[in-house]
Amino acid sequence: MLMFVARRLLATIPVLAMVAVFVFLMLRLTPADPAAILAGDNATTEQVAQIRAKLGLDQPLLTQFAIWGGRLLHGDFGESFFFKKTVAELIAQRLEPTLALATATILLSILIAVPLGVIAAYRHETWVDRFVMALSVFGFSVPVFVIGYLLIYVFAITLGWLPVQGYRSITQGFWPFFERLILPASTLSVIYVALIARITRASMLEVMNEDYIRTARAKGLSDRVVLIRHGLRTAAIPIVTVIGIGIALLIGGVVVTESVYGIPGIGRLTVDAVLARDFPTIQAVVLLFSFVYVLVNLLIDLAYVLLDPRIRY
């Protein structure tokens, strides 16, 4: 087990290194001067020269990568000349709303999608199943921002039940925080629900054909016990895997959802950074999100052991 964890940890290092190489090359392989891009449009000549010296841009490419990578490992993502702060500070400020939104979305999606998938598999090839599958195709096709505006129009503008936009920190009270999170989390969870429900259904269908399900039924166990204790537990691995893979969708969705709902998180920061052509921030956000994505999937791999006692590393 310990060996597996060590091996799995080691295996993520090359992936993260490759992400870093890619982000590094993205900037160096453009015809323009990287220092000028990093400094932004309003930088002075001195600032550009300062960056050039700091990153060693007159050195060979490999040395440059070593300098840049070394700074990254120390948590130095560079400086945003547009926001007049270090990128690390900037991201730290914006972390809370994004974390809140992502957590709420994941919880909501699992709560909706898993039961939907199980019911669709249980009522395989009936109208319930077809309805769930149709919903899932719709969920994949209707873009996040269209869903967002639709929900705002119905629940915030027409019915007036919830605030239109904005974010409150949880430190300012639970209800104001929670009520501003309902619509964004619902919006973002649509595509996630579509993904998870589909996999849950497929995985359950496969499991329900197994011999031990028949045995459980023959013992006279109720449908619910068979479905949940015998079926869902075995079907859980693909479901958990897809939750991890879906984090990529979630991250893309965060950028859009935060823009639609005016939430000052990292997604909103990304868009602001692009509009301001603030490349250090963009680089850092890409690295950060990729790191999170890889890390979540690593944790999920490790969690298989808990889900399936047959897996022994």
Partner: protein, 308 residues
Amino acid sequence: MTTLSDIREQVEAVAPSRPSTIRRLSRHPSVLFGGVILLILLAIAIAAPFLGTVAPSAIDPSSRNKKPGVELSTRQADGTKVTRTAWMGTDSLGRDVYSRVLYGTRVSLAVGVAATIISVSIGLTIGLLAGYVRWLDGVVMRFMDGMMAIPGILLAIALVSLWGAGLSTVILAVAIPEIPRVVRLVRSLVLTIREEPYVEAAVALGTPMPLILLRHIMPNTFAPLIVQGTFICASAILVEALLSFLGIGIPPEIPTWGNIMAEGRALFRVFPHNILFPGIFLSLAVLAINVIGDGLRDTLDPRMSKRI
């Protein structure tokens, strides 16, 4: 004496002919449904100038922010008045949303198709080489793993911010994140195909490597690749709309569904039509392509259809 046609007759009597792939496809309900929607959208894209549209970028300060169905009258240079109905209203610059959505169909579909062609052809080339040339495999696939670890939309955003917003940069930025997925698919297919007896035979006959790849291996990757390409196209249209919606994609002079919606964001509470109509078109297009993809997968690649 038995002729060839006799034999064929006898064989066909025993084994009833399998309906051709196109036949089977045209009977598949979801392909039919998606195909009809897509054909209508294509017809709209081609015939946009003849469907009662005006110039999609024409700014008219006197008819700003009109609700759908309002009659607009414009005075021509010679003094005559022309009246037309703004079926989908106008935006905050007085541009006709109906015309913009119809012309936007052209751009949005074209961007999706272009991005798909680029990512599939680059991915196919890299995937064929990585799957066949052993020493390339490790390096290429590690690099692809790194690229896949970057969430697609984020990578597209980073590329657009680096290259600046424009039609061709957006197409490239949308296409590049899809490449590793194509490479992975093609490589895994090549790894199984290269073990087939007919490839071995070709190698034994001394067929040069490029010819083996092109003639013996590549054709066998097409069916799964078409399925994958359909899904890439749907996702490319979505990502383009998303970038343009965020204001970092295609500039507003070229109407696409995404930037029509971007235009409508500020006044959404009062004039939701700017987001509603392009949103419907966008969702329908992506839905149609996704549904066709599902159908294609069932028909062309039955092994894959079992997985999801």
